[in-house]
């Protein structure tokens, strides 16, 4: 077992050596520009890209012609939201999304608002799921796009994607999903799920950083997005720029491996995650955040009341995890995702996200449990709030000085 232990697989994943192996020739001998049509160097690179396009498409039940390669999911989200708005703004100017989306979606939506679009940011229920009745009530005949993430990066909840896309389609809107955390972890099928646009990223599925894709439906309906990057007209005119061939090959290989191993991995990881969660919720005043039934197999987000997340992480220095505490950010605001579940600020500050992955072992999980328990107990011994709680003092009865 190597220390420190990496349990932050929602932030990024280590690259699978098999992915690296597939990529290596495309840095050296197969270095051609995939757009060079008149010599073998270009053809070989193009072949690699075409194969990767099939591998990506297969993982999400799409056709290879529907895959647009990008620099990552942030670009895919931007292209989808801004591109749909520009393409369809004559039809309507309203977009619906949720408050728990990734910043790439939220900030792209804010950009659309500056361009004159209207955006509805749906609240979520206490368990993090979208209320379908609230979504339906927000639909208008001006609504051109509904964008709801598949699985949440902080709490791992899986939205009812089929039901959401059905509502979008009933009102003639397109449905887009940021599926960065879900693709490769759970079955995602663009046809069964009614998805018109889907953003994914390589580095969350054991592939390289700096490459991702946007799925854009070609049939029923044929979806178009206005390019956000002008240039040589690559990727069916939707995304110009010389293709990142080694990265794309790596993304393809990563998708292929996920397709083969996802089912057994999901079982293995959910068992490990459940073990970790069960062992940690034995601690007094610890709470799991988000819906636990509709949840990605590898994620557990737990709040340990009366200790502060960043201080806690410091005591867990042998573990790489993340916290909804915002003590490191300049704003000093805790996680907006946790707050949108209705969590009080102090519980949001007290949260730790455990993100397991392909290379996580049971031994590591057992060690993580021990380290976390020791850290929580150590910090509670230091915590005036814990002492007050133990004395039966109602913390809400105290007038705290805001600072």
């Amino acid at each position: 077992m190597n220390i420190p232990i990496y349990l932050d697989n929602n932030a990024t994943t280590p690259m699978d050596p098999r992915v690296l192996e597939a990529m290596l020739p495309y840095f050296t001998t197969k270095f051609g520009n995939a757009a060079s049509r008149n010599h073998p160097f270009g053809w070989v690179a193009e072949e690699g890209v075409d194969y990767a396009r099939e591998q990506v498409a297969k993982l999400i039940g799409a056709s290879e012609k529907e895959i647009i390669f990008t620099s990552g999911a942030t670009e895919s989200d931007n292209l989808a939201i801004k591109g749909v708005f520009e393409m369809y703004k004559e039809k309507g100017n309203h977009i619906i999304t949720t408050v728990t989306e990734h910043k790439a979606v939220l900030d792209a939506c804010k950009h659309v608002e500056k361009l004159g679009g209207k955006v509805t940011y749906l609240p979520v229920k206490e368990d993090g799921l979208v209320d379908l009745a609230v979504l339906e009530a927000a639909m208008t005949n001006e609504t051109i796009l509904v964008s709801v993430m598949y699985g949440n990066n902080e709490i791992g909840v899986i939205q009812p994607i089929k039901e959401i896309s059905a509502i979008a389609h009933k009102y003639g809107a397109l449905f887009m999903t940021d599926a960065v955390q879900a693709v490769g972890k759970i079955p995602v099928d663009v046809n069964a799920d009614g998805i018109d646009l889907l953003a994914l990223s390589a580095h969350k599925i054991y592939g390289p950083k700096g490459v991702g894709a946007l799925y854009v439906r070609r049939k029923g309906p044929r979806v178009k997005v206005t390019a956000q990057m002008d240039g040589g007209g690559h990727e069916r005119g939707m995304r110009s720029g010389t293709l990142n061939v080694p990265g794309i090959v790596g993304l393809g290989k990563a998708c292929e491996l996920c397709g083969q191993e996802m089912e057994s991995e999901a079982k293995r990881l959910s068992a490990l995650r459940d073990k970790l969660q069960a062992a940690l919720t034995v601690l007094e005043e610890s709470y799991v955040n988000g819906n636990v039934e509709h949840r990605l197999p590898h994620v557990a987000n737990i709040s340990f009341k009366y200790v502060e997340g960043e201080g806690l992480m410091m005591a867990m220095k042998d573990l790489a995890v993340s916290s909804g505490s915002a003590c490191t950010s300049a704003s000093l605001e805790p996680s907006y995702v946790l707050k949108s579940l209705g969590l009080s600020d102090d519980l949001a500050h007290s949260s730790i996200r455990f993100g397991l992955g392909r290379f996580t072992t049971e031994e590591e999980v057992d060690y993580a449990v021990e380290v976390t328990k020791t850290a929580v107990n150590h910090l509670r011994d230091l915590s005036p709030l814990w002492e007050m709680f133990k004395e039966g003092i109602d913390l809400d009865s105290i007038e705290w000085a805001e600072h």
């Binding site: 201080g311 490191t328 500050h349 230091l382 915590s383 005036p384 000085a401 600072h403």
Partner: protein, 137 residues
């Protein structure tokens, strides 16, 4: 974020963690911060004859820098008169612990806790509370 060795030292081996009898007339208690802001410090002093601080204890809910700032504060308080203790400036803590700009608020909180504890003691013992010349709020 990388922490300085001194922050890590105070965080790992916090000095003077604990609780003094807040009902005692010799004890002053300062409770500052708020749970929703992610930091709460409770700093207590016990004051002997000649207004010299004989003991100091803390408990802190917060990040490593907040814990280290309050631990350091208790070390500095012991042996000082309450008048000298009033002169402890948050920037002294910043300097000693090499706190980065984003953590300066932790030192401010520690200074506030010191002043609140001293004022609590003063008021208990018939002295006037001393208004701080600078306001951080």
């Amino acid at each position: 974020m990388a922490y300085s060795d001194k922050v890590i030292d105070h965080y790992t081996n916090p000095r003077n963690v604990g609780t003094l009898d807040k009902a005692s007339h010799k004890v002053g208690t300062g409770l500052v911060g708020a749970p929703e802001c992610g930091d709460v410090m409770r700093l207590q002093i016990e004051v002997g004859d000649d207004n010299i601080i004989t003991d100091a204890k803390f408990k802190t809910f917060g990040c490593g820098s907040a814990i280290a700032s309050s631990s350091l504060a208790t070390e500095w308080l012991k042996g000082k008169t309450i008048d000298d203790a009033m002169k402890i400036d948050n920037m002294d803590i910043v300097e000693e612990l090499a706190l980065p700009p984003v953590k300066i608020h932790c030192s401010v909180l520690a200074e506030d806790a010191i002043k609140a504890a001293i004022n609590d003691f003063r008021v208990k013992n018939g002295m006037e509370a001393i208004e701080s010349e600078k306001s951080h709020h």
